[in-house]
């Protein structure tokens, strides 16, 4: 009979990985020489989400930079974690997590770019409102083609995703 039951073992293992901490204090039940290898599971957890969010939010990542984006991903995992078996649903949670961050409150382009990224990746939102010029900036960040349009922080525009000749495209709409 095992001293530790299966549920306790899973509790400890899961808590250890989700903490993303480098220390391995709660590793009872794992043989001592292997405890260091718990880092592999922590790295997998962070890397999988970073990679997934990088694919879904390319303009946001490009705008804030790789290190800040990794920091946001890590913060999201520690604060919220992944609440669905469908990894793609986590991107929606991440989008609204970004909205609440102090950095996004100070710089509204972070959330607006993330909103456009999300609309492009999932087509789940009917239409969105963003600052005039942000869509063109998003296109610059994702296609690397320079835009001459300036961002006008005094004006909002509405955009939606449409299909033209079987290709997705953004359409600017009247407010």
């Amino acid at each position: 009979m095992s001293f530790m039951n299966y549920k306790e073992m899973l509790n400890l293992f899961s808590t250890n990985v989700l903490s993303l901490e480098t220390s391995n204090e709660s590793c009872e039940g794992i043989i001592e020489k292997d405890i260091e290898n718990m880092r592999i599971y922590k790295r997998n957890y962070l890397q999988l989400c970073f990679s997934n969010f990088s694919n879904d939010f390319p303009a946001t990542k490009s705008y804030v930079g790789k290190n800040n984006f990794l920091f946001f991903t890590r913060s999201f995992l520690l604060d919220k974690g992944l609440g669905s078996v469908n990894i793609f649903k986590s991107s929606e949670s991440f989008l609204f997590y970004l909205k609440g961050l102090d950095a996004a409150k100070e710089d509204r382009l972070i959330f607006e770019l993330a909103l456009i990224d999300f609309l492009w990746a999932y087509a789940k939102l009917k239409e969105i409102k963003v600052t005039d010029g942000v869509l063109e900036y998003w296109q610059e960040l994702t296609s690397k083609k320079k835009t001459k349009k300036k961002i006008d922080f005094t004006k909002l525009v509405k955009i939606k995703l449409v299909e033209i000749d079987n290709e997705r495209a953004f359409k600017l709409c009247d407010l």
Binding site: S2, N11, G29, I31, M38, Y41, Y45, L48, V85, I87
Partner: protein, 273 residues
């Protein structure tokens, strides 16, 4: 749907960047393993899979059943799987002998099960439930394990044999995972293969990993298949077993043409139909 062609020989794991080339170019891949979790919801990718399925046999391989977990099953997830099984008619379905979520938190990783009698009971009950739910035999894959548990009461092979005996499930033998597990423990992997219940093996996986900064082999699916893995495959083929398998490649993805060259070369040299 094609009812004539059967899964046999050396196939490939379907990856999205290769989808158009697979559908639009001439090649000899005999079958594909498709990740179920990529197709849970309808979308344009379903149309592509329908086209693929019209020409090739497939199996559906999932990553989220949480077979070794103790959380209640995610019924929506299972219903989505059941739905795509009915639509795409895979020849068989598979998932991993691992746990991947706990207390409502999802790791999205293949986490190791301590080989205890209690864990065995959990896995057997859950496999039996799933087989009843899907009305199909489940094929379970052995995973890479970077740690060992002091509380384990039996070997992995004993654990697998018991699961098979008590559920009649089949096994997806990941050759690379076995070799990585043994290399990381500096143990002889051939004795594992020699003692493995080969009669239960439905499929095999081959992949390529790398050695990290600490000297640990990592199951990354980012490299070509190693010669050691091919030698094991050769010995399995020589024993007369004609087991279908695939090459898995995820990161550092080569072009489809390049991956197909690797597949053909392995098929020609090591794997005879």
């Amino acid at each position: 749907m094609d009812k004539i062609k059967k899964v046999q020989g050396l196939g490939l794991g379907l990856r999205f960047p290769h989808f158009d080339d697979i559908l639009n170019t001439s090649h000899n891949v005999p079958w594909f393993e498709v990740i179920s979790d990529d197709f849970l919801e309808a979308g344009p990718h379903w149309d592509k899979l329908t086209k693929l399925r019209a020409d090739y046999p497939i199996v559906l391989h999932s990553i989220g059943m949480n077979i070794g977990g103790i959380d209640p099953f995610d019924i929506d997830y299972l219903a989505s799987l059941k739905n795509i099984y009915q639509i795409f008619e895979p020849e068989w379905i598979s998932d991993h002998l691992c746990w991947s979520s706990h207390n409502g938190k999802y790791h999205h990783d293949l986490l190791p099960i301590p080989k205890t009698n209690e864990a065995l009971k959990v896995v057997v009950e859950r496999v039996n439930f799933l087989q009843d739910y899907f009305k199909r035999t489940l094929v379970l894959e052995n995973v890479t394990q970077y740690i060992d548990f002091s509380i384990s009461e039996m070997s992995e092979i004993e654990f697998i044999k018991e699961i098979v005996a008590q559920t009649d499930c089949k096994i997806l033998l990941d050759i690379t995972n076995v070799i990585i597990n043994h290399n990381n423990r500096k143990k002889d992997y051939m004795s594992y293969f020699n003692n493995f219940p080969m009669d239960s093996v439905q499929q095999f996986h081959l992949a390529g990993g790398f050695v990290d900064e600490s000297g640990l082999w990592i199951d990354s699916h980012t490299q070509k298949v190693q010669n050691t893995d091919l030698e094991v495959l050769q010995s399995l083929c020589k024993s007369g077993k004609k087991i279908a398998g695939i090459i898995e490649r995820d990161g550092n993805l080569p072009s489809f043409e390049e991956l197909e060259k690797e597949r053909v070369s392995i098929e020609n040299e090591f794997y005879e139909l």
